[in-house]
């Protein structure tokens, strides 16, 4: 379980403290997938940066399975908006980087997992390429593969599909859910698309304007349904979310 207790983040801008986020509290059960949706500048990305240990000094407010969150102890997978692949490493090296950094041996079990994920995401033929020779969708799939290969305790994604065109995005989302269902990794992702939140979030967290606080957490009954957009409920839910957003974001 991931517990966030009274987390607020501020930073210094021209020697004045500026509140960027919070205070927010939430509890995410293991195996849950949370979509965080909010206006730009509300601190969504800041929240992910705290959870991933990129912004340091707030670890006490965040507990993962009862322990202070620490990227050195926990395995945290992070997929940033630009996919975060290192341009000087081949796809294969990028995929294995997490294991290498963590000092994990690539034994037969790990190899099996790697094979499975690479095949599932259909990137086996790309392993000897450098990222600048990949399309956006391919980069995205490599980033997903890298995150799942390390078998993370927590997976974080910052608008992971926003850089893709509509068709590639839907395909990538489907692939992601498919592979997520296999491993049920505790996941928090940030999005500005209501559709994406409904398609991929078991729970949907709506945040307010800066400094972002939680307006409402919605249990999403439509998670994991196929042909989502033809579902009547979909329209209702998205209208509902839109109305909250309008209210919440005006405050």
């Amino acid at each position: 379980m991931l517990e966030i207790n009274n987390l607020s983040v501020s930073y210094n801008s021209e020697n004045k403290p500026v509140d960027a986020l919070g205070p927010i509290s939430m509890q995410i059960e293991s195996g849950d997938i949370y979509a965080i949706i909010g206006p730009s500048g509300c601190g969504k990305s800041t929240l992910l940066h705290v959870l991933s240990g990129i912004i340091k000094g707030y670890s006490r407010q965040v507990l993962l399975d009862g322990q202070e969150l620490n990227p050195k102890k926990h395995d945290v997978g992070f997929i940033p908006q630009n996919f975060g692949l290192l341009p000087w490493k081949k796809v294969q090296e990028n995929c294995l980087l997490s294991l290498k950094i963590k000092g994990k041996a690539i034994d037969s079990a790990a190899n099996e997992r790697i094979e499975y994920i690479l095949n599932k995401l259909n990137i086996h033929s790309l392993i000897d390429r450098y990222p600048n020779k990949l399309s956006g969708g391919q980069k995205q799939r490599v980033a997903i593969a890298r995150a799942f290969i390390m078998n993370p305790d927590l997976l974080l994604m910052d608008e992971p599909f926003s850089a893709l065109d509509a068709l590639t995005r839907e395909e990538a989302q489907e692939l992601f859910i498919d592979i997520w269902n296999q491993y049920k990794t505790t996941t928090v992702f940030v999005t500005h698309s209501i559709e994406e939140a409904i398609y991929m979030g078991k729970k949907i967290v709506i945040m307010s304007h800066c400094p972002g606080t939680i307006v409402e957490i919605i249990h999403n009954p439509l998670f994991n349904t196929e042909n989502l957009r033809q579902n009547e409920e979909y329209l209702k839910l998205s209208t509902y979310i839109r109305s909250i957003i309008k209210k919440g974001w005006k405050i």
Binding site: H49, S52, G53, I54, N70, P71, K72, K73, H74, V76, G77, F78, P80, N82, G84, L86, P87, W88, K89, K90, L97, S98, I101, K102, Y130, P131, N132, M150, L156
Partner: protein, 247 residues
């Protein structure tokens, strides 16, 4: 493909240069400017004069100077990029000493460190280290902060970040600096080898000059250019191998 293009470029440049030289020598028609053909025909006989010793001595000086400058320049440059305290301490010194023409310090360096190879390598380092340091510092500061995000979220150590992010990210700019540095190093070398030595290609050229052996002098100049050119090509090859991802 790329290599073929470079070879073509080399041959074109070589031919153009020599044709210009040839016509110029005919127009000037003085012993001071022999035609390239005379020089190339004489190259073979220079072998007996132990030219290779001069080349090896010069090579030793340049490579040591570059090597030491690289080690110092990269470490101090990275230190300044990543530590505010070190940057505050060293920046004024770098800023102040950068424009000082350090070749003018050759007499001082020779008085302090003697006439031998030591002082020649030190003067090379004094000049090169600043170029490399500033290039490395700026390259490291220009790495976008998002580049570090993924690896930080993995809890990587400072050494792992250095090895997986910083060094590969600055490598292309480091190689460019290295190219500039080689040109600079050879010019300084020529100057430094004019004093307190009987070896080195710089000495060879100056010696031939005083003996009015113009053929030998030009051969020396050609050899020195060849030295620079070989080092350039080596860096090209190095870049193809270690910066493959840029292609």
């Amino acid at each position: 493909m790329k290599a073929r293009k470079k070879i073509k470029l080399f041959i074109q440049g070589f031919l153009t240069f020599n044709i210009l030289w040839y016509f110029f020598s005919i127009i000037v028609n003085m012993r001071v400017l022999p035609s390239p053909i005379d020089i190339y025909l004489n190259m073979g006989s220079l072998y007996g004069e132990e030219l290779y010793i001069h080349v090896l001595v010069s090579l030793y000086r340049v490579v040591s100077g570059l090597g030491i400058s690289l080690v110092l320049g990269i470490s101090i440059g990275l230190l300044m990029a990543y530590s505010k305290r070190w940057s505050k301490m060293l920046n004024p010194l770098v800023y102040f000493t950068y424009p000082i023409p350090k070749t003018a310090l050759l007499p001082v360096v020779m008085l302090l460190f003697g006439l031998g190879d030591g002082s020649k390598i030190i003067i090379l380092v004094l000049i090169l280290v600043f170029q490399i340091l500033v290039a490395v510092r700026d390259a490291a500061l220009n790495i976008p902060s998002e580049t570090y995000d993924s690896i930080k979220s993995l809890g990587a150590s400072k050494l792992q970040i250095l090895w997986n992010i910083t060094l590969p990210a600055i490598l292309p700019e480091l190689l460019t600096t290295l190219r500039v540095s080689i040109g600079t190093a050879l010019s300084i070398l020529f100057f430094a080898e004019g004093y307190g030595t009987q070896y080195g290609i710089g000495y060879y050229i100056l010696d031939a000059w005083t003996r009015i052996d113009y053929i030998g002098m030009y051969a020396g100049i050609l050899i020195m250019s060849l030295l620079g050119f070989t080092m350039f090509i080596l860096i090209d090859i190095l870049e193809e191998v270690i910066c493959k991802w840029k292609a």
